[in-house]
């Protein structure tokens, strides 16, 4: 039963931990599978998620931060949850060290609609910690010949301050590329910050391409989304061409436990990626 039982996590080793931000509450964990067949079976696309599993603590659904083009490992960027009472799994994870073993279930859920995105101009809008699966998408789209499959790529990524930006090395690399329009902004700059200062919606207004043949992929905190969507509506983007990813309490991740049920959808299997048009058909309970 072990091999096919979707409830039993696959063993992985933490091969690398990157402390992403100044506040030390977001780390990226790189996992390597202990079993080759598990690695082979873990075929994923950007936008999907996995259940990070620690026996004795529980499981936590986290979006996959690496791109399938990165071979030999998967990465998850995890924020320590809970302001007053820390989340069981995420805080245990944050106390883990490189070399430690734990479990993963997945890949779970639907990916960003890559086929739909092909040939289109892509605007990626990310805010704060929610940038993880967008990073996966970016790395996927710019990998080798993949880049040819997509039109222009505009990235708008914002954080509250420079210290809270994720993937700082990659941002530098992406910034050097000419086939990407990278716009990194912070709400509040510090002395060392040379880049943009300003809120994501304002930057979107400035740099987003026209609606023609374009799709916006947006992930961020609710307040960012609330102010960003009107920008794209004003630009004439249809709801079908604005795509986002939902957060919802999930347990099983495979559409059985009923927890993430919203209307006739299960966020874990029918999502977490939805277009605004799809969300409009969903009951507003997420």
């Amino acid at each position: 039963m072990t091999n096919k039982n979707p409830y039993i996590p696959m063993p992985v080793k933490i091969s690398r931990i990157i402390d992403e931000v100044d506040t030390h509450d977001i780390k990226t964990f790189r996992f390597e599978f202990l079993n080759k067949e598990d690695e082979a079976g873990f075929k994923y696309l950007p936008g999907q998620f996995g259940e990070l599993s620690i026996y004795g603590k529980g499981e936590s659904p986290i979006g996959i931060a690496s791109s399938p083009t990165q071979k030999g490992y998967v990465e998850f960027t995890v924020q320590r949850a809970g302001a007053v009472v820390p989340g069981m799994v995420t805080s245990a994870l944050h106390e883990m060290e490189e070399g430690a073993l734990m479990g993963i279930r997945g890949p779970l859920g639907k990916s960003w609609p890559l086929e739909y995105l092909e040939g289109k101009n892509i605007v990626i809008v990310g805010g704060g910690f929610a940038f993880t699966t967008l990073r996966s998408l970016i790395n996927y789209m710019i990998y080798g010949k993949n880049r040819e499959r997509f039109g222009s790529i505009t990235i708008i990524y914002g954080a509250r301050n420079p210290g809270l930006l994720l993937y700082k090395d990659e941002l530098i690399e992406w910034g050097k590329r000419t086939d990407l329009n990278l716009n990194v902004t912070v709400d509040k700059a510090d002395a060392a910050w040379k880049g943009r200062e300003g809120f994501v919606p304002a930057v979107c207004k400035e740099v987003a391409p026209g609606k023609e043949n374009a799709v916006a992929v947006i992930c961020g905190p609710p307040v960012m989304i609330r102010f960003t969507l009107p920008v794209f509506f004003d630009l004439g983007f249809s709801k079908a061409n604005i795509i986002t990813s939902l957060e919802m309490r999930m347990k099983c991740g495979i559409g059985k436990c009923g927890r993430c049920n919203v209307g006739s959808k299960y966020v874990c299997t029918d999502g977490p990626v939805f277009s605004l048009a799809e969300l409009d058909n969903l009951t507003q309970e997420y």
């Binding site: 007053v84 009472v85 245990a92 106390e95 060290e97």
Partner: protein
């Protein structure tokens, strides 16, 4: 996943004799999350401490367990080691295998087994420990002293002389308190006014003291270092800023009120100063006896006042004061003896209470210092009854401590000022104080009649009009006696101020059965209270004489100074906090906290805890049904985990 280091101390042979320490360390090494486990002869020695410090660095330890003596012994020592190694000091756990294991058994099997169980509990607990930081707050350098009797005056002066700003709050229109009413003080018989009035004057003159008379505290907010107190100043109808104390008003005033100062023995004007040496030397209008307030016309005082200081429209005003510490010196009331009908106080004009007699003796009193009774006679026989209401289970169980001595003083003064026979009815003569026994002996020599027996009843003499009979059992002869006298002096119990419980509530103090303020500890912290930063001095804590009161006042001043002398203070780190997501708004925490730290935030619908007030006892956490309160360092999950570890093996 923690990285725990376990350090087992031999304490020479103190531990090693009955606990196999190396086996204990080996056992520790097998426990999950234990990265390193070592034993060493003396962990508290410098090499021992260095070993821990090195291992913290080398093994990146994030939890330290020292298995040694009692935490009450060396917790601080090892906390410093952690702090010096860059680890939060609260990540230390001490396992007490000396006082509670090796020293209480001879059996090395038993000792080792118990040590393992205790250590396992510590490992379970250590995993869940969280780093804690204590908050530092600013301290307001000023002090408020409430009550300007001798205690308050003394404390205020002491503090002011150190350079601290003091707010001295007095309910009456003058400072001085009961001591200003007295004539002579025992046992030295020096004149009360002579020693008190210079101090009163110093208060007035002192640049660091703000004197707030006719004032009462109406609200207290904040906490130690940062009290925010609202004072209500009663309308005096005289602008003290303008008044030049010519007192022309008091001469012309037709109003008549009862003189509180003279214990109701005489009348005073409606606009008045309580007594000639009053401080401040400025009159106030008593609304109840003022003709203008009663009848709507008069205003004579206004007419005679050249300074235009009379202001009939004056209202109560509120003053906001900030202070870092507060001293309560609110004094006492004399017990109302009217309800003790057997003594006939209030019924027979010949029965007096002690304070009234003080005024009779006083040359500034109603009789100019002559002992003349209400009917104008000079008494021929006087009975002084001790312990009226004191040492009485039906009234005040406590001994009021000063009555014996002032009753002797009365006897002396009666002898001095009259030719009367003086009888002392006492239960026991308590003369414990410097010079007191000597004073007693002196009075014995003054032809005073001592009857060892509590006065049981005072009755009208059936034979002679105006004479009184004191009935008592003379416990020496065992005879029931009846003594005819002209004047009876009751020495009533000193009881808490009528509003002492209200004051206690304002400052979140506890009171004892009677209503006296509770000290934090009866022996070791007699001037502190359960509310940090609030101190008590004088009789508001319990009855005492003037020297003790003054000593307490000085002590309280010193205690207050320890707080306001620093401009910052560190708050307890092991306080409780509320997880608002779990709070069910039952307000149990608010109900039980002895310090008033939790409060209910009506707008958020959850309880919150003022951590500056919290002492970390954890009571609130245990009465919280939804486990919303996190008692830091003793959280529910930490205790549960420790129990699990203790019970595993």
């Amino acid at each position: 996943m923690s990285r725990i280091g376990v350090f087992v101390c031999h304490c020479g042979l103190n531990i090693a004799k009955t606990v196999r320490v190396s086996e204990l360390a080996q056992f520790a090494a097998t426990l999950p999350d234990v990265v390193v486990a070592k034993d060493y002869k003396f962990m508290c020695s410098t090499p021992g401490q260095e070993m821990i410090a090195n291992d913290i660095k080398q093994h990146k330890l994030d939890r330290i367990i020292v298995t040694a003596c009692s935490p009450l012994m060396h917790e601080q020592t090892f906390r410093k080691v952690l702090a010096a190694s860059g680890l939060n000091q609260y990540l230390l756990t001490i396992v007490n295998i000396r006082e509670q294991v090796s020293w209480v058994t001879h059996d090395i099997e038993e000792g080792t087994a118990k040590a393992k169980a205790l250590l396992n509990g510590a490992v379970y607990r250590a995993r869940l420990l969280a780093p804690l930081t204590s908050r530092v707050i600013d301290v307001n350098p000023d002090v408020m002293v409430i009550g300007a009797g001798i205690a308050g005056i003394q404390a205020a002066l002491e503090l002011a002389n150190t350079g601290k700003k003091v707010y001295l709050v007095e309910k009456n229109s003058t400072i001085g308190g009961h001591m200003a009413q007295f004539d002579k003080t025992f046992p030295t018989l020096d004149c009360s006014a002579c020693i008190l009035t210079p101090k009163m004057d110093s208060i007035l003159q002192h640049k660091n003291i703000t004197m707030l008379t006719s004032c009462e505290v109406s609200e207290v907010k904040g906490f130690v270092g940062n009290f925010d107190i609202t004072i209500r100043q009663k309308a005096r109808y005289v602008d003290h800023g303008k008044c030049n104390a010519c007192l022309a008003c008091t001469e012309k005033c037709p109003g008549k009120g009862v003189s509180e100062w003279d214990e109701g023995l005489v009348k005073r004007k409606a606009i008045y100063i309580p007594f000639p040496q009053a401080v401040p030397q400025k009159p106030v209008i008593d609304r109840d006896s003022c003709t203008f307030f009663k009848k709507g016309k008069c205003r004579l005082c206004e007419k005679v006042c050249e300074q235009k200081a009379i202001d009939f429209d004056q209202q109560d005003t509120f003053i906001q004061v900030k202070a870092g510490a507060v001293i309560l010196a609110t004094g006492y009331d004399l017990m109302d003896t009217k309800p003790l009908i057997q003594y006939g106080y209030g019924k027979y004009p010949g029965v007096y209470n002690a304070l009234e007699v003080e005024r009779l003796f006083n040359s500034a009193g109603p009789t100019g210092g002559k002992v003349t009774m209400r009917d104008g006679r000079e008494p021929q026989a006087i009975a002084v009854l001790h312990c009226i209401g004191s040492r009485d289970k039906n009234n005040s169980e406590h001994c009021s401590r000063v009555c014996c001595m002032y009753s002797l003083k009365f006897a002396h003064l009666f002898k001095e000022k009259t030719s009367a026979d003086v009888y002392q009815f006492y239960i026991d003569m308590r003369a414990a104080g410097k010079g007191y026994e000597e004073f007693y002996n002196r009075i014995i020599g003054e032809d005073v009649k001592f009857i060892r027996g509590k006065g049981a009843r005072v009755a009208q003499s059936p034979d002679e009009e105006g004479r009184l009979i004191v009935e008592a059992e003379d416990t020496i002869t065992g005879k029931f006696i009846k003594v005819p006298v002209d004047m009876v002096v009751l020495s009533p119990a000193m009881v808490p101020r009528a509003d002492s419980r209200d004051i206690a509530r304002l400052f979140n103090l506890s009171t004892d059965k009677q209503g006296f303020f509770m000290e934090r500890h009866p022996k070791l912290a007699p001037l502190s209270t359960m509310s940090e930063g609030i101190f008590i001095a004088g009789v508001c804590q319990s009855p005492k004489d003037i020297p003790d009161t003054v000593a307490q006042a000085n002590g309280a001043a010193a205690e207050a100074l320890t707080i306001v002398v620093k401009d910052k203070m560190e708050l307890e780190a092991t306080t409780a906090m509320v997880n608002p997501a779990s709070c069910c708004a039952c307000q149990n925490c608010v109900r039980v906290c002895p310090y008033g730290a939790p409060f209910f935030n009506e707008s958020k619908g959850v309880s919150e805890i003022n951590e500056a007030l919290c002492k970390g006892c954890g009571l609130c956490a245990s009465v919280c049904p939804s486990s919303a309160i996190i008692a830091r360092h003793f959280t529910n999950d930490q205790v549960l985990a420790e129990m699990e570890g203790l019970m595993e093996f």
